[in-house]
């Protein structure tokens, strides 16, 4: 796939996060950054905070909304917990603005590489793993339509 100038691919965006996190010396720097991303994430409009968009984790709620424009998928998301919000902010920025095929064919690797694997564990109950699955599901649904 050819990328337009300034439109970094999913792989590149993930590498940028890995580089960013490599500068942090300890866990509190890392979490401080995630929390700041969570605070920066624009709250999802109430009209998208519907039961259809909710991804129920056991503890923190996650909402995910998807739209397609000119063949590219755009995601917006929100959570009631700030750390979850920071994590989904990164995941959404990685996958948003890409064609369904690219989303489907690219693995999510950066969470692992920056040492936050535990947040994607099925037992973590923060809805993150389900959110990633839902992103892939949207991509699959739209790629079938295309």
């Amino acid at each position: 796939m050819t990328l337009e100038k300034g439109d970094a691919g999913i792989v590149v965006k993930q590498e940028e996060f890995v580089e960013q996190f490599s500068m942090f010396e300890d866990w509190s720097d890392k979490y401080e950054y995630i929390i700041s991303l969570g605070k920066l994430l624009k709250p999802l409009s109430d009209r998208y905070k519907t039961d259809d968009n909710i991804i129920k984790g056991c503890q923190s709620k996650v909402w995910l909304h998807a739209e397609i424009h000119d063949g590219k998928l755009y995601f917006t998301a929100d959570s009631d917990a700030i750390i979850t919000k920071g994590l989904i902010s990164m995941i959404v920025s990685v996958f948003s603005g890409h064609q369904p095929d690219e989303i489907l064919s690219t693995d999510l690797t950066f969470i692992d590489k920056i040492g936050l694997t535990e947040h994607l564990s099925p037992t973590r109950s923060n809805g993150l793993l389900s959110m990633v699955k839902q992103i892939k599901f949207y991509a699959l649904a739209y790629s079938a339509k295309a």
């Binding site: 979490y31 401080e32 923190s60 750390i83 979850t84």
Partner: protein, 411 residues
């Protein structure tokens, strides 16, 4: 004359629990999730291991020596359990998978025995889901009415609150001895007196109480008393249903199959007697042996001594956490087991729990399987720190500092 409680040799006690020396995220584990499950002393781990190494065989079936050894160990565990809770006979001790299994057994079999359309079952708003859902399910199934007794702002519930809800239709009260979320201890002895005046059966969920205080079912005079081994420093997958023999003798079985029959014919099967009647299938033999070791361990330690240690650490933790700005402790009962549920205004419990985990501090966050309590306080969940006798003031202090640090990061 009662002797005053001795101070536990805490370093010695802690060294008997190998997991307490584990490192979590580069820090020494501070385990404050004891209300979810407790850690196990070497005595319990060794007993289970030795059973599998030297005595493993099926019980109540074989003529061979090993089977007889296993049967003896299993039945000694029953004897130990009987002594531990001061029951009158081993016939009153049924081994189950745990608290949930015990409640389901009683709800199912009592339901069959005595619950009819229009009858009433009383539970409280502070029940764990495991002592809530089975009764709700039974009531729906039988056309009975489920009465849910609320608690006050401190998380307290008096025997009089229960008395007010009893009427001619009331058949059963299913009630916790100590709340897993609020810590409240209920006056079960008095509740049993009130209930028995009206011929109402009392089922007590003792899962959160028995790890902290001595239980005497004869003194309480409850009809059923239920708990899990894993919260009592024993293994998972084994628990107890104590029932008065007069009631167990009338109760129909819950599950059927091997081990609980008298004779099986092609058309008809006659059943055995309690407790085997309620223990269909091969039981958790190693579990029962491990649990009885945990009971021995607690007897040797002495409940008065462990309570003394717990109270000291808990008082310290309550004072420290209570001094944190914007931190609200949920529930303030006078008589309580050592756990603290709290929320911090504007902060999600999950965020605090995640950061504490980075510091090696294990707490529980969420609704603690008590969603009705969360709805009552209109909160999504709490952070819960729950203590056991092996916890120290130093650990309570690490928790306090961990919360301060978390709140600073989250602010």
């Amino acid at each position: 004359m009662e002797t005053s409680p001795a101070t536990l040799a805490i370093d010695q006690v802690r060294s008997e629990f190998p997991i307490l020396s584990e490192m979590i995220n580069g820090q020494r584990l501070v385990y404050l999730d004891n209300a979810a499950t407790s850690q196990k002393p070497m005595a319990v781990i060794d007993a289970i291991s030795n059973y599998y190494k030297h005595s493993n065989s099926n019980v109540h079936r074989g003529v061979h020596s090993l089977s007889q050894t296993a049967t003896s160990l299993f039945e000694e565990a029953r004897e130990q359990t009987k002594e531990f809770i001061s029951a009158s006979s081993t016939d009153e001790i049924v081994f189950t998978k745990g608290t949930t299994d015990s409640v389901n057994l009683v709800a199912h079999s009592l339901g069959e025995l005595m619950i009819e359309k229009g009858d009433e079952i009383i539970i409280t708003l502070m029940e764990h889901h495991s002592n809530f859902v089975p009764w709700q399910h039974l009531a729906k199934h039988r056309g009975a009415k489920l009465t849910i007794v609320p608690f006050d702002v401190n998380g307290e519930l008096s025997p009089e609150d229960i008395a007010k809800t009893i009427n001619k239709k009331t058949k059963v009260i299913a009630i916790t001895h100590a709340s897993n979320t609020l810590g409240s201890v209920l006056d079960i002895k008095r509740i049993c007196e009130i209930a028995h005046e009206k011929d109402v059966v009392v089922v007590v969920d003792g899962a959160q109480y028995i790890p902290h205080r001595k239980v005497d079912v004869t003194a309480l005079d409850c009809d059923f008393y239920i708990f899990s081994a894993h919260k009592l420093f024993g293994p998972t997958g084994i628990g107890v249903l104590y029932g008065k023999k007069s009631l167990l003798d009338r109760l129909p079985p819950y599950q059927t199959g091997g081990g609980m029959i008298s004779e099986v014919g092609l058309d008809e099967t006659t059943f055995g007697r309690t407790p085997q009647l309620f223990e269909a299938g091969t039981p958790n033999i190693a579990g029962a042996i491990g649990m009885s070791q945990a009971m021995k361990y607690l007897n040797d330690l002495g409940y008065a001594n462990l309570e003394n240690q717990e109270n000291r650490v808990f008082e310290y933790a309550l004072n420290k956490l209570g001094s944190i700005d914007k931190l609200r402790i949920i529930g303030n009962p006078v008589d309580r087991v050592p756990l603290i549920s709290f929320v911090v205004d504007g902060v999600h419990p999950f965020d605090i729990g995640s950061l504490l985990d980075q510091m090696g501090i294990a707490v529980r966050t969420g609704h603690h399987c008590t969603q009705p309590i969360m709805q009552h306080y209109d909160i999504p969940g709490t952070v819960r720190a729950s203590f056991a006798f092996y916890n120290t003031e130093e650990e309570a202090h690490i928790l306090y500092e961990g919360i301060i640090k978390s709140l600073k990061l989250l602010s």
